[in-house]
């Protein structure tokens, strides 16, 4: 039961004959029934890029509404839906899907395997996630309820109770939100189980755990975290639905239930979730930075230990999102300490990246531009994170634009930058063609300028007292000019992303032919042809170090002598 002829043909194959209707239908069908990890990975990635554009459009409208005080571009209700959907879409339908899609594509190639451990579970997970996302957006049409309430969810992406209880949110908007997250949650759990099983059980001969590419290690760590992160959210959503439909009282404060319990459960999910999102970004940097610095990763065991350390410690920090909710001083102090502690292994990673680059011969091709900017931005985001961990200061900064600036610094400045780096780096492997360096540099510099214009400045309205989740603000607060600059930066970023989209599509047809290994890299995926054949490797590889291709290219100075 082989997949039908791989649709993305290599540039060296002869041009296909004119496709008949039957051939087109068969080609389409192959995408629906596939269990091949590469095709599913591409499906996930296409899905995530689509929702990146949707959520990006939502962000553009938000920024236009906030460009000056008292604008009336959208009504308050629409604005509240926009930022709720923007957050939910970006986290679940862009972030999580991109991570697992990319892991699905790359991991078997990096460990010398034929496919993931459970190909059918892989397909199931994708289609569950896909359905969930469509369900969320269906709420725009189907969410109407009594009194005209309903439509898309409009309660922020963390949806505090009791605002989400039946009494305060009539209509079905929240139900779509809860069901979507439960369904995509099943998809994520399936994908996470698959990643861990594959990385542990499908490695080629000689690939011990300490010879695993760091991308695979960190994907495994992120997946392990996802198992204990997404499930509390699923539990909380079930409780919410029980409250709304079966007359339950979990969050019903009139019956003795607790609003704070929702906050705890949500952030028990919500904080580790951001690490699930950022660890794969680190995973990408761990692959790109050594190759473009022409040096092995400095401190491989330390990087593994730091990542695992972050994973465990991040499970203990959640209530730093709740410093203002009225915990005792002891409770607050505990979460200050745990949050500051999680910064230590994070900092170690930054130092290791710098040490990898130190003494290297750095090639600033587009992937490395994005990764270098990532290191700079991740440093800044970590520092604003430390500021936010200081609970008394947090009492001022919480729920202000300072927090929004901080987490967008991570989500865009660290994660999105690394995703762009990954696309520029691995596009030649997936399609057989290089992306345009010229367009890549335009994309990078415009995006970098727009990003800093928006998110550097955005810290300041927060310091000046501007809260989040507001559809407009008073003119007498002095926030207008700053918001104007922030919005302009957003538009610049949008232009940069358009250039990227053009590059992505154009390079498929006109890009320079890449060959197996255009970047002179060292991990197993660069051994296969570009794009890889359906079976990945003609012969099962046998490896002797963490950088198998380095050992082949440098037989006089192989890695295994130093491990």
């Amino acid at each position: 039961m082989a997949d039908s002829a791989y649709p993305i043909s290599g540039p060296l194959e002869r041009a296909p004959e004119r496709w008949s209707q039957a051939a087109v239908l068969e080609w389409l069908n192959s995408w629906f029934v596939t269990v091949d990890h590469k095709k599913l990975g591409l499906l996930y990635m296409a899905y995530s890029i689509f929702f990146l554009l949707v959520a990006g459009a939502e962000a553009v409208v938000i920024r236009i509404q906030l460009i000056q005080p008292n604008m009336h571009v959208v009504s308050p209700q629409v604005f509240n839906r926009l930022f709720t959907m923007h957050g939910t879409t970006m986290v679940f339908l862009f972030g999580m899907t991109y991570i697992f899609g990319f892991a699905n594509y790359m991991i078997p190639l990096m460990i010398g395997a034929r496919d993931m451990a459970f190909p059918r579970l892989n397909a199931f997970s994708f289609w569950m996630t896909c359905f969930g996302g469509l369900l969320l957006y269906y709420s725009f049409i189907g969410g109407g309820g009594l009194y005209g309430d309903g439509n898309a969810p409009d309660v922020t992406w963390w949806a505090y109770a009791p605002l989400t209880e039946r009494a305060f949110t009539r209509g079905h908007s929240i139900d779509y939100w809860a069901l979507t997250l439960i369904i995509t949650g099943f998809g994520t759990i399936g994908a996470a189980i698959n990643v861990i099983s594959t990385a542990l059980c499908m490695r080629c001969k000689g690939m011990t755990l300490m010879r695993l590419p760091l991308f695979v290690w960190l994907s495994m760590v992120a997946s392990g975290m996802a198992l204990v992160t997404i499930t509390p959210l699923t539990a909380a959503q079930i409780m919410l639905l029980i409250d709304r439909y079966l007359g339950g009282h979990f969050f019903d404060t009139q019956a003795g239930g607790s609003a704070i319990v929702w906050a705890h459960f949500f952030w028990i999910f919500g904080h580790p979730e951001v690490y699930v999102l950022v660890i794969p970004a680190w995973a990408i940097a761990n692959e790109i930075i050594p190759v473009f610095s022409r040096k092995a990763m400095f401190g491989y065991p330390a990087m593994v230990a730091a990542s695992v350390g972050v994973a465990f410690i991040s499970l203990t920090v959640w209530a730093h999102h709740m410093f203002t909710i009225g915990m005792t001083s002891v409770g607050n102090a505990f979460f200050v300490l745990s949050t500051m502690i999680v910064g230590i292994p994070t900092g170690i990673k930054i130092f290791n990246w710098l040490a990898t680059m130190w003494g290297g011969k750095i090639r600033f091709a587009t992937p490395m531009l994005f990764c270098t900017a990532f290191v700079f931005q991740f440093l800044l985001a970590g520092l604003t994170g430390i500021m936010l961990s200081v609970a008394p200061w947090n009492w001022q900064l919480h729920n202000s634009y300072f927090v929004i600036a901080h987490f967008h610094y991570i989500l865009v400045g660290a994660i999105a930058f690394n995703i762009f780096a990954a696309i520029y780096y691995w596009y030649p492997k997936v399609t057989g063609r290089l992306m345009s360096e010229t367009l890549g540099k335009w994309h990078f510099w415009l995006f970098f300028i727009g990003f800093h214009l928006t998110f550097d400045i955005m810290h300041i309205p927060g310091l000046m007292g501007m809260p989040r989740s507001i559809y407009t603000y008073e003119a007498n607060r002095g926030w207008g000019t700053l918001n104007l600059i922030v919005s302009i930066g957003g538009l610049i970023q949008a232009i940069a992303v358009l250039i990227f989209a053009v590059n992505l599509i154009r390079s498929y047809f006109k890009g320079e032919v890449a060959g197996n290994d255009p970047w002179d890299a060292w991990t197993l995926e660069w051994e296969t042809p570009s794009p890889p054949p359906p079976y990945n490797f003609a012969k099962d590889p046998v490896v002797t170090s963490a950088r198998p291709l380095w050992d082949i290219k440098h037989p006089d100075d192989p890695d295994w002598k130093y491990e």
């Binding site: 996470a192 059980c201 499930t231 509390p232 409780m239 007359g247 003795g256």
Partner: protein, 196 residues
């Protein structure tokens, strides 16, 4: 062209863990997290109901518990049987496991019938009802899923499709059943001992 090994010494055998076991272990970790949240919600809300039936209306389900926990024993005996290729004995112990699980479910149903109709405890009656039915119900739903899996295997066994080489897969499934029993130990302790 694959990398060639340049070492002369004997390579140790390349053994990787079984993917079925790893996957089931991961699933169990995830499910444990869900149950932990419901248990925490239950414990947090002990004594917080402002009105309605109290945990005093619960009677300790000793018989049900004995049945469910014994089913862990019978499933181990079934696993041992299939390892040695004794299909008939395997079918016997496996069927007994299913029956014990079913008795547990029926017993839970009877208990709930009494709670709903005689004591007025429902999922919406008060906070205690909400936390009780959601926690015990979540566990019961996992028992149902387990029973469906068990009965499917039983069907395959009775139609002669199950053989000794399937022993490992059945052990993976048995892991799930042990997990369900393990969760019951926690739920039982929290609901019927600590919470009353």
């Amino acid at each position: 062209m694959s990398a060639t090994v340049a070492v002369a010494k004997m390579e140790p055998a390349w053994v990787l863990p079984s993917k079925g076991r790893v996957a089931m272990f991961c699933l169990i970790v995830g499910e444990s997290a869900i149950f932990t949240i419901f248990v925490v919600a239950y414990i947090y809300n002990i004594g917080k109901s402002l009105y309605g039936p109290t945990p005093q209306v619960l009677s300790v389900p000793v018989f049900n518990t004995v049945c469910l926990l014994s089913s862990s024993l019978t499933i181990v005996l079934a696993e041992k049987a299939i390892e040695h290729g004794k299909i008939k004995r395997f079918a016997l112990w496996w069927a007994l496991t299913f029956v014990l699980g079913a008795i547990f479910l029926i017993g839970t149903g009877i208990e709930w019938h009494k709670l709903i109709y005689e004591d007025g405890l429902t999922i919406s009656s008060n906070l205690f009802g909400t936390t009780y039915y959601s926690l015990v119900g979540l566990h019961a739903s996992h028992v149902v899923v387990g029973l469906i899996a068990l009965s499917t295997v039983l069907l395959f066994t009775l139609t002669g499709h199950v053989r000794r080489e399937h022993a490992e897969r059945l052990q993976v499934l048995a892991l799930y059943w042990h997990f369900v029993d393990g969760v019951w130990v926690v739920v039982f302790t929290v609901v019927y001992i600590v919470g009353r």
